[in-house]
């Protein structure tokens, strides 16, 4: 009897408690980096030994929007761009719940950009994990607010001429208390950043630069997911505390990663509580 249990346990993946194994295989393409972000997040939860009953994940729409459906906690897959306000409602409705928003760059920075800015300003106690793959992947490879100039996409067949967003700079300027950026290659450092972000009261942002093998690197002839990982290995430079205005990402140039912001500001709930106490 004992032997059977051991055998079953041997078959269990260490993340079985954190992931919805009944939904595997997931929808992400081979070579995609979203799985890495999910692994790092799951690993961070494991390290923190959180009470998962009190944790909630909210996602928007897109490839990364599907993350909520694979993590075995209370999770919401909402509308495009509106994960942050939905999460705000949950956090204010029940402040005991740790709310994490995991979504993509298009979802958080483009259609949800205003919510991102205002949640950071209010310093709502949320952790935002923004997977940035430089492109709208689920809708078919359209140009994104993060697409570097002059990358090709299906809607910029002559190259992108728009100025891309710098996510850490946007987060810092809006008021985020913790801002870090890693690539899908930096698994250990990414995990520790997510741990830090989850521990930090207030609006924390972790950007994860991720390969999109199906669209971004295919259209730009940059190889597959592994080639992108090699590129990150060669071109990412760790510079903790780098001023966020230096963090723009140019096409196939260096990517500065690290922890850039770690500061103290009263959270929305703290400010509100204090205000009405007085």
């Amino acid at each position: 009897m004992e032997a059977i249990i051991t055998q079953q346990e041997a078959k269990r993946h260490p993340m079985d408690n954190l992931l919805r194994m009944d939904r595997m295989p997931h929808i992400w393409c081979p070579g995609c980096g979203i799985g890495n972000a999910v692994s790092a997040f799951a690993d961070a939860l494991d390290k923190l030994e959180y009470n998962l009953d009190k944790l909630c994940v909210v996602s928007g729409i897109g490839c990364t929007g599907r993350v909520a459906g694979y993590i075995k906690v209370d999770s919401f897959h909402t509308t495009h761009g509106r994960a942050i306000p939905f999460a705000t409602g949950i956090k204010l409705g029940n402040p005991d719940i740790k709310v994490v928003v995991i979504s993509g760059d298009g979802d958080l920075v483009s259609i949800g950009g205003n919510h991102f800015v205002h949640a950071a300003r209010r310093n709502i106690d949320l952790t935002v994990i923004c997977v940035n793959n430089f492109i709208y992947a689920m809708t078919g490879g359209q140009v994104a607010p993060t697409t570097p100039t002059p990358a090709y996409t299906t809607t910029s067949p002559f190259g992108n001429f728009e100025n891309p967003s710098n996510v850490p700079q946007l987060a810092e300027a809006a008021g985020a208390v913790y801002v870090a950026r890693w690539t899908a290659l930096h698994m250990r450092r990414l995990t520790y950043s997510i741990v830090d972000a989850l521990k930090k009261p207030g609006f924390s942002v972790v950007e994860v630069i991720s390969p999109c093998a199906m669209y971004y690197s295919r259209i730009n002839k940059l190889g597959d997911g592994l080639d992108m990982m090699k590129f990150y290995y060669d071109h990412s430079i760790i510079k903790h505390g780098e001023p966020t205005d230096h963090l723009e990402i140019d096409y196939q140039k260096e990517i500065i990663v690290g922890k850039f912001v770690d500061r103290e500001r009263p959270t929305y709930s703290e400010s509100m509580g204090k205000w009405f106490e007085d």
């Binding site: 009953d53 906690v73 919401f76 897959h77 909402t78 509308t79 705000t88 409602g89 205002h118």
Partner: protein, 387 residues
């Protein structure tokens, strides 16, 4: 004082429609209001802002109406009764999240204080053009519940009722009113807290591991709910989903999912429908109205009755679902149905459909500037009765 005593201001008060609406929300147990400032709905928020600290509620001014309703939906999943208030342009922005609220079966109340449209329109004039938007505003198939008060007292009563219906049917409920009613100052009686009947959402009581977010009761087609943070580790999505809440992209699941959402309101429409009849038994001509305009109809009906015209009034209190059976029944008795509206013809289309040609339907444009006067209604009644 206890929280409920502070929430329910039992007694008679001189209140505007807006104030009565805020009091209705508080009495119904609303403890979360997410909003974005817009004229003329803002008076409701002002009242709530004065009162929300009494009841330890949460009031948050979001960055737009899209996020206001998103926050309300999120708060509702924590077990809070939640509402948002807005006016025309803001209501248009909320459309996508009405769909999400329906799909996630999230109880909440949306108050739309209509102003004259189109687009920015005439913000201070009482509008009536959002009736069909309330019904069809979000994309895809769904059924909605919308209530139309015509006095400050009803602003109170119907806000309470809206919360009750939203909790019972697990769906967003819209309170559709206008500047005329929201600015009106009248006596409002707030009953004892124990006399206010509020339906609270059905909670799941089975084993934690057996919980399926959309496993519904065959009795009422409504799945029991759980709050976030109680250890059920559920997943819900705005995508077409099965009873586990997982997305399933096939026709069978689409049918299973959306058909039930429609049916859970349609089947019980007659339980939800509410209206007020006056002198319809012997009426040859019946004026069908709702909201602010219905205040003028009563005067018109009384006036023509004195002149010997057998007129009656049907005042619709639940616009959606529409009282189809009642209209069909009245159309069999009366020869003419008059529908005065402060829009260019929205509910008259429904009345005409339900009359099925048995009575002639006449539409009357009762402009916002005419609210408070009934001469045009009287004139049309006389015209159709050829007197």
């Amino acid at each position: 004082m206890k929280e409920t005593n502070l929430a329910v201001l039992t007694g008679s008060h001189d209140l505007t429609g807006s104030q009565a609406c805020a009091e209705g929300g508080l009495s119904a147990g609303c403890r979360f209001l997410g909003y974005y400032p817009i004229f003329p709905s803002f008076d409701i928020v002002e009242r709530f802002a004065e009162r929300f600290s009494d009841v330890k509620g949460v009031l948050i001014q979001m960055e737009d109406e899209i996020s206001a309703l998103a926050a309300v939906l999120g708060a509702s999943w924590t077990g809070k009764k939640a509402m948002t208030v807005t006016s025309g342009p803001g209501f248009a922005q909320m459309a996508e999240h009405i769909g999400l609220g329906v799909m996630l079966e999230t109880p909440c109340v949306i108050v739309d204080v209509q102003r004259d449209g189109t687009s920015e329109g005439s913000p201070s004039a009482p509008g009536g053009g959002d009736i069909m938007m309330a019904r069809w505003g979000s994309h895809g198939d769904y059924e909605v519940i919308a209530l139309s008060p015509n006095s400050p007292q009803e602003m109170f009563d119907m806000t309470v009722k809206a919360f009750s219906l939203s909790e019972k049917y697990r769906t967003p409920v819209i309170l559709i009113t206008d500047t005329y009613v929201s600015n009106l100052n009248e006596a409002v009686h707030i009953p004892d807290a124990k006399d206010i009947q509020i339906h609270t959402r059905k909670y799941y009581k089975g084993k934690r591991e057996d919980y399926l977010p959309f496993q519904y009761d065959a009795k009422d087609l409504v799945p029991p709910m759980v709050d976030v943070g109680k250890g059920y580790r559920f997943h819900v999505t705005g995508l077409t989903h099965d009873e586990r809440g997982y997305p399933v992209m096939d026709e069978k699941c689409q049918e299973w999912n959306v058909h039930r959402l429609v049916q859970k309101i349609r089947i019980f429409a007659e339980d939800i429908v509410d209206f007020e009849e006056e002198q319809t038994d012997d009426a040859d001509v019946i004026v069908v109205s709702y909201g602010a305009v219905s205040r003028d109809v009563i005067h018109a009906v009384h006036q023509v009755r004195e002149e010997g015209i057998r007129a009656g009034s049907l005042r619709i209190k639940t616009i959606w679902p529409f009282p189809e059976k009642k209209i069909t029944q009245l159309a069999k008795k009366a020869t003419h149905l008059i529908v005065p509206e402060n829009n260019f013809g929205q509910i008259c289309l429904e009345v005409e459909r339900c009359a099925r040609g048995r009575a002639e339907t006449h539409y009357l444009y009762h402009a916002s500037s005419r609210i408070g006067q009934s001469d045009d209604i009287v004139k049309l009644i006389k015209k159709v009765m050829k007197k």
